[in-house]
């Protein structure tokens, strides 16, 4: 099938665009590669800015409004830069009945951040996840990619404050 749209050049000569381009090319630069491409871009840059969204859309021939629709549908994608560190609090059922709510309250009290927010100093972003599948560790959190089980609000706050 001929590609009707010209492929755009990478927005900058940042090498990370190559990764995104490769991932799209491997899927034939077809519109169906949109979600995989967004994953690649977010892995490379940490979040999805308009430049990335435009580039991905133009490469795959997907209308901008649809790219935006997809990027905002899935909660895994974030359009805003994250803090230096991220802390994901699991709010699955097992974590919920084992104290996830108290952890969120504790974070809000000590660091003045709510889920999906970043502390005023840009250091820590708090996210929530609907079940990490680590129920045996409930309540579980992920701090910068490391899973921590059976945490208390006080411990977590102390760890984050020390970062």
């Amino acid at each position: 099938m001929p590609v009707l749209h010209p492929k755009p050049p990478a927005p900058t000569d940042d090498k990370r665009w190559k990764i995104v381009e490769t991932r799209m090319r491997r899927m034939g630069d077809r519109p169906s590669a949109l979600i995989e491409a967004l994953h690649a871009a977010q892995e490379a840059f940490g979040y999805l800015d308009t430049e990335a969204l435009n580039f991905v859309g133009d490469t795959l021939g997907v209308p901008h409004s649809r790219v935006y629709g997809v990027a905002t549908f899935y909660s895994f994608f974030t359009l805003k830069p994250q803090g230096e560190h991220t802390c994901v609090v699991c709010t699955g059922t097992a974590c919920y009945i084992n104290g996830a709510k108290e952890i969120l309250v504790g974070l809000d009290r000590a660091l003045h951040v709510k889920p999906k927010e970043t502390t005023a100093d840009g250091k820590i972003s708090i996210l929530t996840a609907r079940c990490l599948g680590a129920c045996s560790l409930a309540p579980a959190v992920i701090v910068d990619g490391d899973v921590k089980g059976k945490v208390t609000a006080a411990e977590l706050v102390a760890q984050l404050e020390a970062m």
């Binding site: 491997r26 997809v70 549908f73 994608f77 009945i97 079940c131 599948g133 089980g149």
Partner: protein, 551 residues
């Protein structure tokens, strides 16, 4: 069009069982490296054990990374396979003790794990969990892996395979329990040159981690099950839709696909026959509704994951409008065993129309949090008390939640019910994917209902009105109740609206969203009334500020 690298086609190495069994070790230590134990630094234990064994000159000892050993609550876990000795909560300092134990093992030792946690289980879908190295194809083959596929391709017709699956009575493990053989037959008979097989590994139910453990611990069995299914329905391409929250599962699947391609179990001309089948992974991106099959298809196509009304069912019109078979991870995990051991054997397990076994993830206020597999028809009491070890701190049992956000809460008086698809529906719950969350008297059932409604309202795709608006309205009513501000009229409104949402929503998410409300009302209505009439939360969870009595 297949995206298999051409190199994989040319490099083909036959793996034989003998090759592996050359030098059986005298003693072997299995270290669980599934996600739960991994997050407790299990990998450091593996490394350290290896180093120490080498230093101690133990050349006839095998230190092996394996998948989930089941008892996740006590991780990191190390098992000495020959003596079934299990080391729990292993710390680096405990390594010496394990080395000592390894020295004592005699090559003739063959003990099975003891205790009700192990003895009451029956492992079919999870037979390789904790037994094989999930990153080793040889290990999988050594346990009978790919025997079924080879036999299917050399001795059976696609009709034979479908009939065998039909006779086994296997039903979909993704929730609804649709007969698998029937689904395969529909796809096989559907018109269309191109057909697809999709493995639903989105596992979105909060509190469920069965599929994750299987993917992390035994990825090849899923690939084998998918290949057999593809043969049976005449498909040549497959997708695994896995949630992005499971990075370890994804990386092990990626590796497994590569290894299977190299060994000729995926790709063109599988096992030297003319059968072609290849698999790609697609990542979810944090949308629960994408577990619903039509939403999943939209997502694989790169679109917003919104469901569409069925019919047409994906079996007739699915991915790119082609006939598509969608099955759950655990469903595929049963396929190899059924074909190896026969449909009669499988149909002999279970009760009534619920055949075989079911994997459950035990979580919540239970001692043995972890993964278990039991024959259908076991009672809840056996699962919770005998296998699960009862409740933490010996607290009173209040309810067990099954079926995720479309499920319900089962109270203590029903603990002796035998678990099956039918019985769970009868009591107002749902099998779902197999999460069992145990609650004690510290949980408020109205709060639990509110929790699930909050879940549904956040995960609603927003397409249809009853779910988009209705789940929020239901949530607002439940919030009113938990704040002690509701009247009996509000309760009536809650029940009325819940019924309307159930009947009119487009997909299973909206239709199932009222279930937690119905089931808690059915068994715990007095708790609702306590909040509404007496303005107290019996469990002390909800912060009710008593309304001032105005004269």
């Amino acid at each position: 069009m297949s995206e298999m690298p051409s190199a994989a086609r040319s490099i083909r190495r036959r793996v034989s069982t003998e090759e592996i069994a050359e030098q059986p070790p005298r003693a072997s230590a299995y270290v669980c490296e599934a996600a739960s134990c991994m997050s407790a630094q299990a990998h450091d234990i593996t490394v350290r054990l290896g180093e120490r064994a080498a230093e101690a000159g133990l050349t006839d000892v095998l230190i092996k990374r394996v998948g989930c050993l089941g008892l996740c609550a006590a991780g990191p876990l190390v098992e000495i396979a020959e003596t079934a000795q299990l080391f729990e909560r292993v710390k680096p300092d405990d390594v010496e003790g394990i080395i000592k134990a390894l020295k004592k093992v005699k090559s003739t030792d063959t003990r099975q794990p003891q205790g009700p946690f192990f003895e009451k289980q029956l492992r079919v879908a999870t037979e390789n969990l904790g037994r094989i190295d999930p990153e080793s194809l040889d290990d999988f083959v050594g346990r009978g892996g790919y025997e079924a596929l080879k036999r299917v391709l050399s001795e059976m017709t696609s009709t034979d395979v479908r009939e065998e699956i039909t006779r086994s009575g296997l039903r979909g493990r993704g929730g609804a329990g649709y007969p698998t053989g029937l689904k395969w037959t529909t796809v096989a008979k559907a018109q269309g040159a191109q057909k697809y097989v999709i493995c639903n590994a989105d596992e979105g139910d909060p509190g469920a981690f069965m599929d994750r453990s299987v993917l992390e611990s035994d990825p090849f069995s899923i690939l084998e099950g998918m290949a057999i299914a593809a043969f049976a329905v005449h498909a040549s391409e497959g997708y695994i839709y896995c949630r992005a929250e499971y990075p370890l599962a994804v990386s092990r699947l990626r590796l497994a696909i590569r290894l299977a391609q190299r060994a000729g179990f995926l790709g063109a001309g599988i096992a030297d026959t003319s059968f072609n089948f290849d698999v790609q992974i697609r990542l979810g991106a944090g949308a629960f509704v994408c577990g619903e099959e039509t939403a999943l298809i939209a997502s694989v196509e790169g679109r917003r994951g919104t469901p569409r009304p069925r019919p047409p069912y994906p079996a007739v019109q699915g991915l790119w409008d082609c006939p598509t078979l969608i099955n759950n991870v655990e469903t595929f995990a049963n396929v190899g065993a059924i074909l190896r051991k026969g449909s009669e054997w499988y149909a002999g397990i279970g009760v009534g129309k619920s055949k075989g076994t079911k994997v459950f993830a035990l979580a919540g206020r239970i001692v043995n949090t972890g993964l278990v597999e039991v024959p259908m028809g076991m009672t809840l009491r056996e699962i919770v008390y005998d296998i699960g070890g009862g409740l933490i701190d010996g607290r009173p049992f209040k309810a067990v939640q099954t079926g995720g956000p479309s499920g319900g809460c089962i109270p203590a008086q029903l603990l002796d019910m035998a678990v099956s698809y039918e019985s769970l529906i009868e009591v107002g719950s749902f099998m779902g994917s197999g999460g069992l969350i145990v609650m004690d008297d510290t949980s408020c059932m109205v709060d639990v209902a509110k929790y699930f409604q909050d879940f549904c309202r956040e995960e609603s795709c927003g397409k249809c009105v009853p779910c988009r608006v209705g789940t929020t309205q239901l949530y607002m009513l439940l919030d009113l109740i938990t704040r002690g501000e509701a009247t009996l009229d509000d309760l009536a409104q809650l029940e009325r609206l819940a019924g309307i949402v159930q009947k009119t929503a487009l997909c299973g998410l909206g239709q199932g969203a009222p279930n937690p409300i119905f089931s808690t009302l059915r068994y715990f209505r007095d708790e609702y009334l306590a909040h509404i009439v007496d303005k107290v939360c019996p469990a002390g969870v909800c912060t009710i500020t008593p309304a001032e009595v105005t004269a």
